[in-house]
Amino acid sequence: MNADQVNAYLAPLRDRYPESRALILPALKYAQTEKGWLDLEDLEAVAEATGLTSAYVESVASFYDRLYLRPTGRRIVSVCVTLSCMLRGSDQLYARLCDLEGLPPEGGTSEDGGVTIQTAQCLGYCDKAPCVQVDVDETEGPVLPDEAEEFLAKVRAAAQPTEVWR
C-alpha cells in the first residue's frame, strides 16, 4: 500500500486526535488489509502518513500480536488455548486442525498458503469454549475437535474478503 492510500483512509480520523502519532495503529491495521501482512513498503507508507520514521513504525507494529510482519496464509485461524477453552478441549481441537493441514504442533501456514493456524490467548468467548476466530470475523464456538474438518472446509470455501482485517 502507498502513502496516498493510507492518507485517504486517515483523512476523516485526523481531527479526532491532537497528535498524528495516535494514527499509527489505525494506519497499520488499514495498511495490512491489502494482503493480510505488512512489508517494508507498507511500513514506509504508514511512516510517511503519520510523520514518523519507518523504524519507529516497525517497533510499534512488532509489539502487537495481530500485526503481521511476515507473509501469512490467505486466512488466519486463531484457536484459543487459554484455561476455559483448555478445560473444554481446545488442545485436542488445535492438534486436529494442525494435523488436517499437515502442520507441526507449533502451527504455521499450510503448504498451499490457504490457511495459517495459530494459538491465541483468551478471545473473550469463554462461554463458547473451545472457540476459534478467523481473521477478525466474529469468534465461533464451541467448535468441537470432531468438527475440525468441517470447520476448515468452511473456512477454505468462503470467499476471500476484499479487505483482510486481522
Partner: protein, 435 residues
C-alpha cells in the same frame, strides 16, 4: 439471588437494544438529558460518589473518588477513556454490553464526561472484538445523527465527542497506562506511576479511565438515584455486578446479580447448573485468572468485594473460571502461567524472566520431569517477582500460581513424583446462556 437486568437492559427489554429508537423507548438517554438540563456537573460527580460504584475492570477503585481527582480548573483538555480491552482470561461481560446494549455505554461515557468537564471520550477496544467494534460504530453514527453526541451533547453549545480506537492484540493494553501508550501510538508498555492518569494521562492531560461495565452502570445510577444503587448490596459493595462464568459448569454465560446476595455455591450450582453427572467442584478463579484460586472450602463465600477478600482472593473482573475434579490443578496452573509469559510486555526483568521460569518449572512437573524441590523453587521464583515491577500484570501472574501451591500441596507433591495424568477435557456443545 435473582438475576437482575440493569446493566444488561437489553435482557429486560427482551431483545437487542441496537436500534436507537428501541433504546430511547426503554428510557435511554433520559439520564443524560436530565443531567445536562437539571443537574450541575458537580451534582453528577457527587451522585457517582454517593453510589459507591466501584470499578469493574479489576481493581475495584470507587469511580466517584477517581473522578474527583480530575482537576476542575485544568488548563489542558480533560479526557474520558473507556477501557474495552477485555482480555482477562474468563471475562466476557463487556462484549455483551457492546454488542447488545451499546447506547447505554455511550450514554455512560457522555455522563462521565459531563461530570468531569470533558469534551472528548475515547473507547479503546481490543482488536479481536471487531464484531463488537462494528456494533459500536453503528451506535455512534446513530447517536451523532440524533444529536445525543456532538456539538450540543452536554447542552446547547456544550460539545461531547466519542472516538472508537481499535487495538491490535495485546493483553497489557488493558492495563490503564499501557492502554494510554497504545492509544498515543506507542508500544503498549505501562508507565511508572505516579503521576496517575487523573493528573497526567492521555497526552499528559487529566484522564478518567473506566471499564465498560463501570461506565454502563452510570445511566441507571443517574436515572434512579445514587441511593437506589447503594441500597443494593453492602456498604462497600453496592449495586449489581455481572459475573462471566466459564469452564466445566453446565450453563456458562454472563449473569448479572446484586452484590453480596448470592454465594459462589449458588452461582455455580443454581444459576450455572453445576457439573456433569459424577463430577464435583474442585477449583475456581472467581475474578478472572489474575487472582488466588479458591477451593471447595470457599464455596459458601458471598460474592462481594469484602467477602471475597476475606476468603483470600479478589472479585477482580468477575470472570469466574470453574473447574471440576476431572482436571489436574498443576496443568491448569501451567496454562495460566503460559498466558502471563506470553503477555508480559518485557519491560521489567523480574516479570519477563520470572514468568518464563514459572512456565519451565510447571511444565517440567506436568511432564513428569520434575523434582520434589521444584515446588519450593516455584514459590521462590514467584516471591522474587512481586514488588520489583512496574505494573500489576506480574502480581496477577503470581497470585494463581502461589495460591495453587499452597492450597493443593498434596497434588503438587504427587505431580512432582509422577507427572500429571493425561488430560480429559469436557467435550460438549453446551452453548453459553444468551446475554
Amino acid at each position: 439471588m435473582p438475576i437482575r437486568n440493569i446493566v444488561y437492559r437489553h435482557l429486560e427489554h427482551g431483545g437487542d437494544l441496537t436500534a436507537l429508537s428501541d433504546y430511547e423507548a426503554s428510557g435511554g438517554w433520559k439520564a443524560l438529558e436530565t443531567a445536562t438540563a437539571h443537574m450541575e456537573r458537580d451534582d453528577v460527580l457527587y451522585a457517582l460518589h454517593r453510589s459507591v460504584l466501584r470499578g469493574r475492570g479489576g481493581a475495584g477503585f470507587p469511580m466517584g473518588r477517581k473522578a474527583s481527582f480530575i482537576p476542575k480548573d485544568a488548563e489542558k483538555p480533560v479526557y474520558v477513556v473507556c477501557n474495552a480491552d477485555e482480555s482477562e482470561p474468563g471475562t466476557f461481560k463487556d462484549r455483551a454490553i457492546m454488542e447488545h446494549n451499546p447506547f447505554q455505554l455511550l450514554e455512560g461515557i457522555a455522563l462521565a464526561g459531563y461530570a468531569i468537564r470533558s469534551r472528548h471520550g475515547y473507547i479503546y477496544i481490543r482488536g479481536e472484538y471487531e464484531h463488537q467494534a462494528r456494533a459500536l460504530d453503528r451506535a455512534l453514527e446513530a447517536a451523532y445523527s440524533a444529536g445525543h453526541l456532538g456539538p450540543d451533547a452536554h447542552g446547547p453549545g456544550e460539545p461531547f465527542d466519542i472516538t472508537l480506537h481499535r487495538g491490535a492484540g495485546a493483553y497489557i493494553c488493558g492495563e490503564e497506562t499501557g492502554l494510554l501508550e497504545s492509544l498515543e501510538g506507542k508500544r503498549g508498555q505501562p508507565r511508572l506511576k505516579p503521576p496517575f492518569p487523573a493528573v497526567a494521562g492521555l497526552w499528559e492531560s487529566p484522564t478518567l479511565i473506566n471499564n465498560v461495565e463501570t461506565l454502563a452502570s452510570v445511566p441507571p445510577i443517574i436515572e434512579h438515584g445514587a441511593d437506589w444503587w447503594a441500597q443494593m448490596g453492602t456498604e462497600k459493595s453496592t449495586g449489581v455486578k455481572i459475573f462471566s462464568v466459564s469452564g466445566h459448569v453446565m450453563r456458562p454465560g454472563n449473569y448479572e446479580i446484586v452484590l453480596h446476595d448470592t454465594s459462589l455455591r449458588e452461582l455455580i450450582y443454581d444459576i450455572c447448573g453445576g457439573f456433569r453427572p459424577g463430577r464435583d467442584f474442585k477449583a475456581c478463579w472467581v475474578g478472572g485468572s489474575s487472582v488466588p484460586v479458591l477451593t471447595k472450602e470457599h464455596l459458601d463465600v458471598a460474592l462481594d468485594y469484602e467477602s471475597l477478600q476475606a476468603a483470600g482472593t479478589f472479585l477482580g473482573s468477575a470472570g469466574c473460571i470453574v473447574m471440576d475434579d476431572s482436571e489436574c490443578i498443576v496443568r491448569a496452573t501451567l496454562r495460566l502461567a503460559e498466558f502471563y509469559r506470553h503477555e508480559s510486555c518485557g519491560k521489567c526483568s523480574p516479570c519477563r524472566e520470572g514468568t518464563m521460569w514459572m512456565v519451565k518449572l510447571l511444565d517440567r512437573l506436568v511432564n513428569g520431569e520434575g523434582r520434589p524441590e521444584d515446588v519450593d523453587l516455584l514459590l521462590k521464583v514467584s516471591g522474587r517477582i512481586q514488588g520489583r515491577v512496574l505494573c500489576a500484570l506480574a502480581d496477577g501472574a503470581v497470585a494463581p500460581i502461589a495460591s495453587a501451591v499452597h492450597l493443593f500441596p498434596d497434588e503438587f507433591a504427587e505431580v512432582a513424583r509422577n507427572g500429571s495424568p493425561p488430560p480429559t477435557p469436557m467435550i460438549e456443545s453446551t452453548a453459553g446462556a444468551a446475554a
